[in-house]
Amino acid sequence: MNSMSGANSNRRDFFQLVLGWGAALFAFCASLAGAARFMIPNVLYEPNQRCKLLKPEEYEEGATFIAESRLFLVRKGNTFRAVSGVCTHLGCTVLRNSKGNGFHCPCHGSQFNENAVVTGGPAPRPLPWYLVELSRDGRLVVNAAHVVAADKYLVV
């Protein structure tokens, strides 16, 4: 390139920079982006977010653990609520307190009261409450994709 005259050499440098290196960089970034996107699955083979339970009258007073969906169905008289059983700290499954008025996590000792609000330990957020509905055939349906306030009940 040193034998070239100034203007010619500048133009050549410019094209080499923009077209040559630009194309190489673009190809590299595009391949990287494609590979990164490839790693994000489009279909998840995970349990359904909506979970169909038994009829309301089959559940006892207090919290019942629904193992397959890792949540608790809480009955109080004729009202029903559902709360996540997955600790908001590091994803362990929480247990009911021995007194039956809240939950605690065995992994790092987070405490939740009966409204699933954090009362102790490292958990950063309360356990989320899920929407409880009644299906046409009279069975309870919990929708884990739909988070509701703690004071929202299904009255049967």
């Binding site: 083979y45 397959e68 890792r70 700290h89 590091l90 994803g91 065995p106 790092h108 490292p122």
Partner: protein, 423 residues
């Protein structure tokens, strides 16, 4: 007798075609052996006498390398029986334990070698720090070492999930949730790592591929560069070694024909620069002999461990019932102890600070004091800071390991808390 037979074999046409030099009889041949063999040429033909002294390195890096090789061999053998599926993984572990001949010993060796490798990488790092061996011109090799340290932890962590027992499932659930605390990208990283929202089939397959292909491959390449740089940076650090100079040779100084030798181009610190030849000994047989000895000791130690202590295998993974307490692998228990106070601090800020501090260390600590000397008095500040951090991490790890009982409550190891099973 055996030596004679070996010499005869090397003397044949086939033997010479394979080994070129044969058993060396002269100093020239001792040099040729090291130079002409692919495996042996990782080492210089001659090394400084200090290199042979056990107290120089304690053999820690070498032991780590051997453990890595043993892990590859035992790991590849285990792959012949292991199926990375949530239905079959646990069955293959049981098969390896009770059906496959030597399966139990191989799995034990793999498990204990993995734990030992984590320990020896850490010890090796401590040795390099306490002997000031990361200083110029070895800064970048220290950085490669830090990356290898992280890779070792990642290898161990991804392997932890594969048995698909309770221990595996909950350690990875807890560990990957920590990643979710990283600001902005945390949830995304966790999702890509697990291939979903929870630890399931997708996560098992991803961890398997990382564990058997991607991470060992990366480690192998970096180990190669790491060893190569040890040579290129002038061998092991030693006190009074010539200061590092990077001479820029003017292009005009080079001969115009291509008849010049490599020595006319290679400048700077090499093992031979500024040393009396008397301080150096031939790699063959002095260094080779010691290396083989260390290898035999490592294999014996591992075999004893593998024969007398079995690797843990708990019951089949159960996503709804965490063990109480659920603990991460031991090398993360210091972080888990911190996580029990604050997930952001223990899971993100402290580990990030540790990595950044380790990488930046050789570029911040630039004084040329105490190179190649254990606990040099000229490095009081650096030694104190490092030691305080090290002791803190060890104390946290011990608290997390043995002083934490059910519900992560404080307990004394000789009087464990017992909590009745609930639900």
């Amino acid at each position: 007798m055996l030596k004679k037979l070996w010499a005869q074999l090397l003397g044949t046409r086939i033997g010479r075609s394979v080994f070129r030099v044969g058993l060396p009889a002269s100093n020239l041949q001792r040099a040729q052996v090291a130079i002409s063999s692919f495996l042996l040429h990782m080492q210089p033909a001659k090394v400084h006498q200090r290199t042979l002294k056990f107290s120089t390195t304690l053999g820690l890096g070498l032991i780590t390398l051997y453990l890595f090789f043993i892990l590859i061999i035992t790991g590849v053998l285990l792959m012949f029986y292991y199926v990375p599926s949530t239905d079959l993984a646990y069955q293959s572990m049981k098969d390896l334990e009770f059906v496959v001949t030597a399966g139990m010993v191989l799995r034990n060796m793999h498990r204990w070698a993995a734990h030992l490798m984590v320990i020896f990488v850490m010890l090796h790092m401590c040795r390099v720090f306490y002997t000031g061996a990361y200083k110029q011109p070895r800064e970048f090799n220290w950085v490669i070492g830090v990356i290898l340290f992280i890779l070792t932890l990642a290898l161990s962590f991804t392997g932890y999930l594969l048995p698909w027992d309770q221990l595996a499932f909950w350690a990875i659930t807890v560990g990957s949730s920590i990643a979710g605390y990283a600001p902005i990208v945390g949830e995304k990283i966790k999702f890509i790592l697990l291939g979903g929202h929870t630890v399931g089939q997708a996560a098992l397959l991803r961890f398997y591929v990382l564990h058997v292909v991607l991470l060992p491959g990366a480690a192998l390449v970096l180990i190669g560069i790491h060893l190569w740089r040890v040579r290129k940076d002038g061998g092991l650090a030693r006190p009074g070694e010539p200061a590092f100079t990077q001479e820029e040779l003017p292009a005009t100084a080079l001969p115009t024909t291509k008849s010049y030798g490599l020595m006319e181009l290679a400048h700077g610190t090499t093992p031979a620069v500024g040393v009396e030849p008397d301080d150096e000994v031939f790699t063959w047989p002095n260094l080779i002999f010691r290396e083989i000895l260390v290898f035999m000791l490592v294999v014996v130690l591992l075999l004893v461990l593998a024969i007398f202590w079995n690797a843990p295998l708990e019951e089949f993974a159960n996503p709804v019932h965490p063990p109480n307490p659920a603990k991460a692998p031991w090398y993360f228990l210091g972080l888990q102890e911190l996580v029990s106070y604050s997930a952001l601090w223990g899971g993100v800020i402290v580990p990030a600070l540790i990595v950044v501090a380790l990488v930046a260390l050789p570029y911040l600590d630039r004084r040329r004091a105490g190179i190649g000397v254990w606990f040099s008095r000229e490095r009081k500040v650096a030694l104190s800071i490092f030691s305080i951090c090290l002791v803190t991490m060890i104390v946290l790890t011990i608290i997390g390991s043995v002083f934490r009982g059910p519900n992560w409550s404080f307990q004394v190891p000789w009087k464990p808390n017992i909590v009745a099973e609930e639900r």
